[in-house]
């Protein structure tokens, strides 16, 4: 019987031990041949030697004792499977951020970005008045180091009678660079500033130095 031939349901029932009353001679012959083939195959199978059992069990016991002791170098260069709990990694990330901020605030460790600390009296915000005579302007704003150079940051108020634009801005003591922005496009220095300095781009910025008592300008 080839592999592609199938036994009839009657022959299969016969092989399963059902009564052979309804089975035809052809089906019975096929069933008998199949049974003989199976028995012949089973007869060729060999039971493994007992040494195989011993070898397998020895390997299992060795595995149970764990790997052999490795050197540090072997441990470093060999691959390691890891299982990590996502919640633990997220917690570690948060702890890292907190740790980083703490380190930045520890005295003696300098990361270089903290502004100079003045005495409490000097840290008080000082109100500084800015003014510009621009009678033809429709809009005047103030952009500087104190508002991240946003041209929309501080809007000056116009006095129609005098053509003077003014704004009073709270500033921390220290040096500030700035410019007036007329009608959103024209950047001009403050003629009353303490000084005009190179802005690094080939133009000039106005400078004032705010002390704890305010600013005196020309």
């Amino acid at each position: 019987m080839s592999g592609k031939e199938r036994l009839s349901p009657e022959a299969q029932g016969y092989l399963d031990g059902e009564p052979a009353g309804d089975i035809g001679p052809e089906d019975r012959q096929a069933a008998d041949q199949f049974e003989q083939a199976v028995q012949a195959y089973a007869g060729r199978l060999q039971t493994p030697d007992a040494s195989v059992d011993r070898a397998v069990m020895a390997a299992v016991r060795a595995e149970a004792r764990g790997p052999r002791r490795q050197s540090v170098w072997q441990w470093l260069v060999s691959p390691h499977p890891y299982s990590v709990r996502p919640a633990l990694v997220a917690a570690a990330a948060v702890a890292l951020i907190v740790l980083g901020r703490l380190l930045i605030d520890i005295p003696g460790i300098e990361f270089g970005d903290r502004p100079a600390q003045l005495a409490p009296e000097a840290q008080a915000t000082i109100l500084v008045r800015f003014e510009l005579r621009a009678p033809d302007a429709d809009r005047v704003t103030l952009a500087g180091s104190f508002n991240e150079w946003s041209p929309e940051g501080v809007e000056l108020v116009r006095n129609s009678a005098t053509g003077m634009w003014t704004a009073t801005v709270p500033l921390e003591p220290g040096q500030h660079e700035y410019l007036f922005v007329i009608d959103g496009s024209q950047w001009i220095p403050d003629p009353n500033a303490h000084a005009q300095v190179d802005d690094g781009f080939g133009q000039a910025n106005s400078v004032i130095v705010v002390g704890p008592r305010g600013v005196v300008r020309s």
């Binding site: 390691h80 890891y82 299982s83 990590v84 633990l88 570690a92 890292l96 740790l99 980083g100 380190l103 930045i104 003696g108 300098e110 990361f111 270089g112 970005d113 903290r114 100079a116 003045l118 005495a119 009296e121 000097a122 008080a124 915000t125 000082i126 109100l127 500084v128 008045r129 003014e131 180091s145 991240e148 150079w149 041209p151 009073t168 709270p170 003591p173 220290g174 660079e177 496009s185 950047w187 009353n192 303490h194 000084a195 300095v197 190179d198 802005d199 690094g200 080939g202 133009q203 400078v207 130095v209 705010v210 002390g211 704890p212 008592r213 305010g214 600013v215 005196v216 300008r217 020309s218």
Partner: protein, 244 residues
């Protein structure tokens, strides 16, 4: 569990190495993109800031300068901004080297920034060291350098600017008092004195008067009172008097 701690340790070490220059770089990149800057420009700026942070240079002045450059984009090309930032980094390196030579270690960021600014306005390394040497602490050194630089920008010669700041510190004046000097100089000019006279007075040990002394001050330049906001300056100016 042991492996989990190992991973956490490695992540923590990586994070520490990445801070704070990387954080400042990400911040300025985000700010530039938010303001409409092209990604390529923002990336270039972020790289400069990150490298400066990795060198332990202060990143805040660079971030401010980058935002300034972008704000002035109508008349400042992006390439010019990048060039200016790279030049700024060199000045910061110079400022840090001078501070280290002056004996500061570690060097606070504001001192590096103030030294870089002083160098940018023409002060020599020796002059920067002289101002640092007259200050009792790093924070005072930063303020002294800022004020000396401002006085020079106002037209006072470097020697006189350094002298007046150094003398003030040696006499025990607080850094916040030294911040009054640019206003005092303006006040003297408003009284009709020229820079040569003022410099001569300083070099003779005369110092600068308080900007709130009688007769000092120009027009419309005092701190103004705004309803609902109290300014320390207004409360003090009438009672304060005298020079150094």
């Amino acid at each position: 569990m042991r492996h989990s701690f190992l991973v956490i340790g490695l992540v923590a070490a990586g994070g520490m190495l990445a801070s704070p220059g990387a954080a400042a770089a990400q911040d300025v990149r985000a700010q530039l993109l938010e303001r409409g800057a092209p990604a390529e420009f923002a990336d270039q700026v972020a790289a400069i800031v990150a490298n400066a942070g990795a060198e332990q240079l202060p990143t805040e002045p660079l971030v401010s300068k980058a935002l300034e450059g972008w704000a002035k984009r109508a008349r400042v090309p992006q390439g010019r901004v990048i060039t200016a930032l790279n030049q700024y980094v060199v000045r910061l390196q110079t400022g840090r080297d001078i501070a280290v030579a002056a004996g500061l270690d570690p060097v606070p960021g504001p001192v590096v920034a103030a030294a870089a600014e002083a160098v940018g306005r023409g002060m020599t390394g020796e002059q920067v060291e002289e101002v640092m040497g007259s200050a009792s602490e790093p924070q005072a050194a930063a303020t002294g350098l800022t004020v000396a630089s401002a006085l020079m920008a106002q037209g006072l010669e470097a020697e006189a600017a350094i002298r007046v700041v150094g003398d003030a510190f040696r006499r025990g004046r607080a850094p916040e008092e030294v911040l009054e000097f640019p206003s005092a100089l303006t006040g003297l000019q408003a009284q009709g004195e020229d820079m040569a006279q003022i410099a001569r007075r300083i070099m003779q040990g005369g110092g600068l008067p308080s900007p709130t002394a009688p007769g000092m001050g120009g027009r419309g330049n005092r701190p103004q009172t705004v309803p609902g906001i109290s300014g320390e300056g207004q409360k003090k100016k009438k009672g304060a008097s005298g020079g150094q």
